[in-house]
């Protein structure tokens, strides 16, 4: 009798403890609801510039083989035929004005809004122009690398982990990675999408893993804020036939 009285409350406490733990977990449905919508990248370091946003990221720790792969890269659309300093207020050609390089611009969001549409089999990541990232959540596996054709986006599958969306991507074309990294089709990119409890902030943590390239996983994150409830997607416009498309924004008067 004495033993029974002791065991019953213990079992009850274990059960309550288990349920409490479970309720603290976020389900996939909770995660999907929190993630859905439009998000805008934040400049949390206060850098004030595109380049500065990643300047404070921890540099990639490369293996000797990885370091040997690094090649200097230049944006092929970055053309300045003058190649000289320009006076304040002087417009000049900065790009080829090449429209039609379709797709959502790679796996890393830029300053345009990112829209996340989670559905049962697939999470769609879209921007304000053509193309989308299709993230499969139906349990399928990556195909052989030789069958992955969408080089700039690779092939992505995902699972839900305590309400976070965790994407695994392979098959990306060879090239540079933020903060001194490099990637090949074999390189794995893991992205974890985590929404704060208030639902208004999101963090995407990028982790690049490839034993041939990285001495240890190369990781960094971007923070986002949710667009207002009455916000909507804009539509990017690009016209290669418009000469002004190739010019810089006319630079403002510079301080001496």
């Amino acid at each position: 009798m004495h033993v029974k009285v002791f065991v019953a409350p213990a079992a009850l406490m274990l059960m309550v403890g288990a349920l409490t733990t479970v309720s603290a977990q976020r389900s996939a449905a909770d995660g999907a609801r929190a993630l859905e919508g439009g998000w805008v990248r934040l400049d949390t370091s206060g850098s004030g510039s595109f380049g500065g946003l990643t300047a404070n990221f921890t540099r990639a720790a490369l293996t000797p083989e990885g370091a040997a792969k690094i090649k200097p890269q230049r944006d092929p659309d970055d053309v300045d035929p003058d190649n000289r300093p320009h006076k304040a207020g002087e417009p000049y050609i900065v790009t080829q004005g090449r429209c039609g390089g379709f797709g959502p611009g790679g796996v890393e969001p830029n300053s345009a809004a990112l829209f996340i549409i989670p559905t049962r089999d697939e999470v769609l990541l879209t921007r304000e122009g053509p193309g989308a990232r299709h993230i499969f959540t139906d349990g399928r596996e990556h195909p052989p690398l030789s069958r992955i054709s969408s080089a700039g986006l690779g092939h992505s599958t995902a699972t839900w982990d305590n309400g976070d969306l965790v994407i695994d991507t392979v098959g990306l074309n060879e090239g540079g990675v933020t903060a001194g990294g490099w990637r090949t089709p074999e390189t794995h990119l893991t992205e974890r999408y985590h929404v704060a409890d208030d639902g208004m902030r999101m963090r995407i943590t990028f982790t690049w893993t490839d034993p041939k390239i990285y001495a240890r996983p190369h990781s960094y994150f971007f923070d986002f804020e949710r667009i207002p409830a009455d916000g909507y997607a804009f539509e990017n416009w690009c016209d290669s036939g418009d000469p002004l498309q190739r010019q810089s924004v006319v630079p403002p008067e510079q301080l001496p």
Binding site: T126, P130, G131, S149, S240
Partner: protein, 230 residues
């Protein structure tokens, strides 16, 4: 036994966004393709007398320029994509992503009114809101840009800043077909509302989207082909 059922239910609740769902007449998510020419039932539009040959020629020139310079296509060209459309639906939105050079369409289920014309900058896709009427999703679109993208409408005519489009989406054949009836209204272009239907076939669940077809406005061979006189 009861414990087993409890565990199974518990695990099911934690896996998948919504768990396994039966086909739902009010969920058009999936990959959809206009497979055959007979999936497009398009009568000739009854055009307004104001739409003269000169007006049509000028509009054709605009559309040609859009193609020549790889501009985004917009509505209604995106819905006639030769490659599959990925349509994804949530409680708040329906999103249509194409594998052609067209901006993704956003259709809002959580908004009953269009964005004020004072605020909304016209776009190639316009501003779309939608609601369910029984098993039919009714999408209402205004806010088209008359000067951007390919403006031609199947059957004749073109979109303008005053064009109003209503689309009616309905699943057919146990969800294997998606019927979309388009009705275009624009007193400056059409004498009567212009209606036609496209039917899209659902692709297998293992279909995987490809990157949009590339378009290089500076490809000299392409430019020569497009601009050559027949």
């Amino acid at each position: 036994m009861k414990a087993g059922i409890f565990v199974a239910t518990f695990v099911a609740a934690l896996t998948g966004v919504a768990g396994a769902q039966a086909p739902n007449a009010r969920d058009i998510s999936g990959y959809w393709e206009l497979t055959y020419m007979d999936s497009q039932h398009v009568p000739r539009a009854q055009l307004s007398p104001r739409v003269t040959r000169a007006v049509l020629d000028a509009q054709t020139q605009k559309d040609f320029k859009a193609v020549r310079w790889c501009n985004i296509l917009g509505m209604p060209a995106i819905m006639a994509s030769p490659r599959p459309l990925d349509i994804r639906q949530t409680e708040k939105t329906v999103v249509i992503a194409a594998e052609v050079n067209a901006a993704t369409r956003y259709i809002y289920l959580n908004r009953a009114a269009h964005i004020s014309r004072d605020v909304f900058d016209p776009t190639t896709n316009g501003d779309s809101i939608a609601k369910w009427e029984g098993d039919t999703l009714v999408v209402d679109t205004i806010g088209f840009d008359p000067n951007k993208g390919v403006t031609a409408i199947p059957g004749g005519g073109f979109r303008t800043a005053n064009t109003h489009l209503v689309e009616r989406y309905r699943l057919l054949n146990n969800g294997s077909l998606l019927s979309v009836r388009f009705t275009w209204t624009d007193p400056g272009v059409f004498r009567t509302p212009h209606t036609y239907e496209f039917r899209y076939s659902r692709l297998p669940r293992d279909y995987e989207a490809r990157l949009p077809l590339n378009c290089d406005p500076f490809d000299e061979t392409r430019t020569a082909f497009l601009t050559a006189r027949p």
